[in-house]
């Protein structure tokens, strides 16, 4: 196995420090960089959801589109538990609040707010996990697109139930919830005045993503990958399909729901419509643009897509007049046209996403500058049905002729890097 370059470890530490420093800088100058702060917050949250989705889609090979539903569960649980008690009546202005929820909140209000928020998010995560477990029993037996549409259906059911007027006293149905404490909520940190808007989500996202990375690199992660590669073979290796699919599904839903809670804190007010299928598609987009089966890809994808959509492309919406000449096309609405086109361009030219299915490594990073990436022209994946993100050549072998002895070792694949990092 390749020995890990100690230099690279230093680079990694350096990078982490740079990120931290930049975050702290932004944190202290947050009013000046409001836009950046908000886009970064959103990117961090979507990065978590994208990584959780990747765990399912990219690593376990389960095509699930239920993200919006799990995010909604997490967001609503967090919101309902963290809206200050005294503001509840005003929020549920239409139909009032169910008494038991009020009692529960009163009981919980002895907790300091940061603790309450963490508990609320965990509760949201656990409810989502429980739902995932329950619907997983029947649904995880379904194959690819059938699973996708069933999970999507689940998300729609969740949304339908949340918005039902019959539950107004509980979820506040159509009226949504507001007055949710934000990341910069004063009581969230020892520092006054909204400190933590960036650091809190940064730490939360790092912990969540880190946890998923640990799982993926563990033996369970390998079992997930085996299921992705070939269910039947995985089963023949003694891997209990349903149990492992469940694990992946529950874990992913748990994390997604916590990210949903973070989204509620980011938005400060939520409504059922915010959790429609479009949000799931957006996340899928991030995952695929980043590279299915690549964690760093998902994180990168979250930042690239969010920054592009919410920030960089914004100038396309602003009519621009240069020297009395109105630049054509530039008017409101054009941004989204450009965004869609860019999206297509990325997919058409980086068909395996920005990162493919490999992770960021310093080795690969430096190689990027040394040689231009060559993309081998490979034949069509013929079965058409495989969910595998990797191009599989139809020929059954790709090795040198055995008349010549096998070359010893050979240059290990990128996978090996990950391997080495394990130990």
């Amino acid at each position: 196995m390749r020995v890990k370059n100690p230099k690279h470890t230093w680079y990694s530490i350096l990078l982490a420090l740079v990120i931290l420093a930049a975050t702290i800088y932004l944190e202290f100058n947050r009013s000046k960089y409001g836009m950046a702060v908000s886009v970064i917050q959103k990117s961090l949250i979507f990065a978590v959801v994208a990584v959780a989705m990747n765990l399912l889609n990219g690593f376990t090979g389960l095509f699930s589109l239920g993200q919006a539903g799990f995010m909604a569960i997490g967001a609503y649980a967090t919101a309902m538990l963290t809206i200050p008690v005294e503001r509840m009546e005003a929020v549920y202005y239409m139909s009032g609040v169910v008494p038991w929820l009020m009692s529960l909140k009163r009981a919980l209000s002895v907790l300091p707010e940061p603790v309450l928020i963490i508990i609320a998010m965990l509760i949201g995560g656990m409810i989502a996990g429980l739902f995932a477990f329950l619907i997983g029993i029947p649904v995880l037996r379904l194959k690819s697109d059938y699973l996708a549409i069933a999970t999507l259906g689940f998300a729609e059911i969740v949304r339908g139930i949340i918005s039902a007027p019959q539950l107004d006293q509980f979820t506040n149905g159509s009226y949504g919830l507001k007055n949710i404490p934000g990341f910069g909520s004063n009581s969230l940190s020892f520092m006054p005045d909204g400190f933590g808007v960036l650091l809190v989500p940064l730490f939360a996202s790092t912990i969540l993503i880190g946890f998923i990375v640990l799982v993926i690199n563990s033996s369970y992660g390998r079992a997930f990958k085996a299921i992705r590669e070939d269910e039947i073979a995985a089963e023949a290796m003694g891997i209990n399909l349903l149990k492992h699919k469940q694990m992946s599904f529950v874990l992913s839903s748990f994390v997604t729901a916590i990210a949903g809670g973070m989204l509620a804190m980011f938005m400060r007010s939520i409504e059922p419509r915010a959790f429609s299928t479009i949000i799931t598609y957006d996340i899928l987009l991030i995952v695929v643009i980043g590279g299915l089966g690549s964690i760093t890809g998902s994180v990168l994808g979250a930042f690239v897509v969010t920054f592009a959509k919410d920030w960089f492309l914004r100038f396309f919406d602003v009519p621009l007049i240069i020297g009395g000449f109105q630049v054509p096309f530039l008017r409101i609405g054009f941004r989204m046209v450009i965004f869609s086109i860019l999206l297509m361009v990325v997919v058409l030219f980086y068909r395996r996403g920005l990162m493919g299915n490999s992770e960021f490594t310093w080795h690969g990073f430096f190689n990027l500058f040394r040689r231009r990436l060559k993309r081998p022209e490979v034949m069509a994946e013929t079965s058409g049905g495989s969910m595998s993100p990797i191009i599989i050549a139809p020929g059954r072998d790709q090795a040198p002729a055995p008349l010549i002895p096998d070359p010893p070792g050979g240059e290990p694949e990128e996978e090996a890097d990950e391997e080495a990092a394990d130990e």
Partner: protein, 378 residues
């Protein structure tokens, strides 16, 4: 990262610039109405684009952003405005996005004036949010009174599931109507994005109401009206302020005849010279630009345009009073402000809501929104 978003937006004229953010949906579900509101703001800006502070002339610059009628988007868009150092904000059409952006503005201590967001939640508990229009509870009450006074005692309510405006207004109507002694014979909900209402309407028809109250978006209105008439429903159809949009008449055609709605403004109300002046000027403004004309659906003056116009002037007035471009000062100025707008006199109560006690009822007649009467509540 650098604060690059302000690049390129710098105006040609010197340093004395004061920025006002325009936080409106121009795309998405409420894109149509949002744009009409923007038109009113742009027109007002065209008339008054400077303000004097401490003897110096400041150029007012509009910073327009599109919140796409989407709450998630709204937060980022709001931060975008904040980052661009706007002194005050106007917006938004659609209460949901206003509610979503509220905390951001509050934290940044920038006052926001909503032209047409009617949901109580927009201003409630937010010191920095103001509005120049009336509220849904009021509107619901107005419509209930109007219907009941006409001798319509059985009502059906159709609302959009998950939409706070629609559900809220429907609910306020429902409560007011029942209080008056009317009977609600049918309550129906539909999903956002639904385009087929026949099943719902068949239920409504079966309940034989005298009046249907169906507050909803501009996009769904013509569908509802036409399908109701096709099924042979003859009940009066009523809705709230959002329906005052030429597109509804263009789409629903003859079927739209007789539809009644409450609104904030009437272009044919000649009692106020200020309003008359605005109407003439605004029509000219519209006719001078094909895109405006096209997107506005003709040169009719929408109430939201008038409110946008008023909101802009309220903000400018507050700047004048404050004699400062400082947002907190502007907020304080707003609180005590009193001004005659084209939609009536405007001053704010402790919530930041304009004290308005009058609504216009309009009826669609001969393909036009015709003023029927004004309704005041006790």
């Amino acid at each position: 990262t650098s604060d690059s978003s302000t690049d390129g937006d710098q105006p040609a004229s010197g340093d004395n610039v004061i920025k006002i953010g325009v936080f409106e949906p121009v795309t998405g579900e409420n894109g149509g109405g949002g744009f009409q509101e923007v038109l009113g703001i742009r027109y007002a800006h065209q008339l008054t684009n400077t303000v004097e502070i401490g003897g110096e002339e400041y150029t007012i610059e509009l910073v327009e952003v599109d919140n796409k009628s989407d709450r998630t988007e709204a937060v980022t868009v709001a931060s975008n405005l904040v980052a661009q150092n706007v002194s005050a904000i106007i917006g938004s059409y659609g209460s949901g996005v206003s509610i979503a952006a509220g905390p951001t503005y509050e934290e940044a201590q920038i006052p926001a004036v909503a032209p047409s967001a009617t949901n109580p939640q927009v201003t409630l508990g937010n010191e920095y949010y103001f509005r120049v229009c009336f509220l849904d509870p009021f509107q619901g009450e107005v419509m209930a009174n109007y219907a009941f006074q006409d001798g319509l005692t059985k009502a059906a309510v159709i609302t959009q599931l998950g939409d706070d405006y629609s559900s809220g207004l429907g609910n306020f109507f429902l409560k007011a109507f029942e209080e008056l002694g009317g009977e609600i014979v049918s309550e129906q909900q539909f999903q956002t994005g639904d385009t087929d209402f026949k099943a719902i309407l068949a239920n409504v028809k079966n309940a034989e109401p005298d009046v249907i109250f169906a507050p909803s978006s501009v996009a769904t209105a013509p569908l509802l009206i036409k399908q109701a008439r096709e099924l042979g429903i003859e009940a009066k159809i009523m809705a709230g302020d959002t329906w005052e949009n030429q597109a509804i008449i263009d789409n629903a055609g003859a079927d739209a005849e007789g539809v009644a709605l409450s609104t904030f403004f009437d272009e044919n109300d000649t009692s106020s010279p200020l309003a008359g002046e605005f109407v003439t000027g605004f029509k000219e403004f519209l006719n001078g630009n094909d895109e405006y004309l096209n997107k506005n659906g003709g040169d009719g003056v929408a109430a939201v345009s008038a409110l946008g116009f008023d909101a802009y002037n309220v903000v400018v007035e507050a700047i004048k009073v404050a004699q400062s471009s400082d947002s907190v000062a502007i907020k304080d100025a707003l609180k005590g402000l009193s001004l005659d707008g084209v939609t009536g006199s405007i001053s704010f109560d402790e919530n930041g809501d304009a004290k308005k006690d009058m609504a216009y009822i309009k009826i669609i007649q001969d393909g036009k929104f015709m003023f029927d009467k004004t309704v005041k509540t006790q």
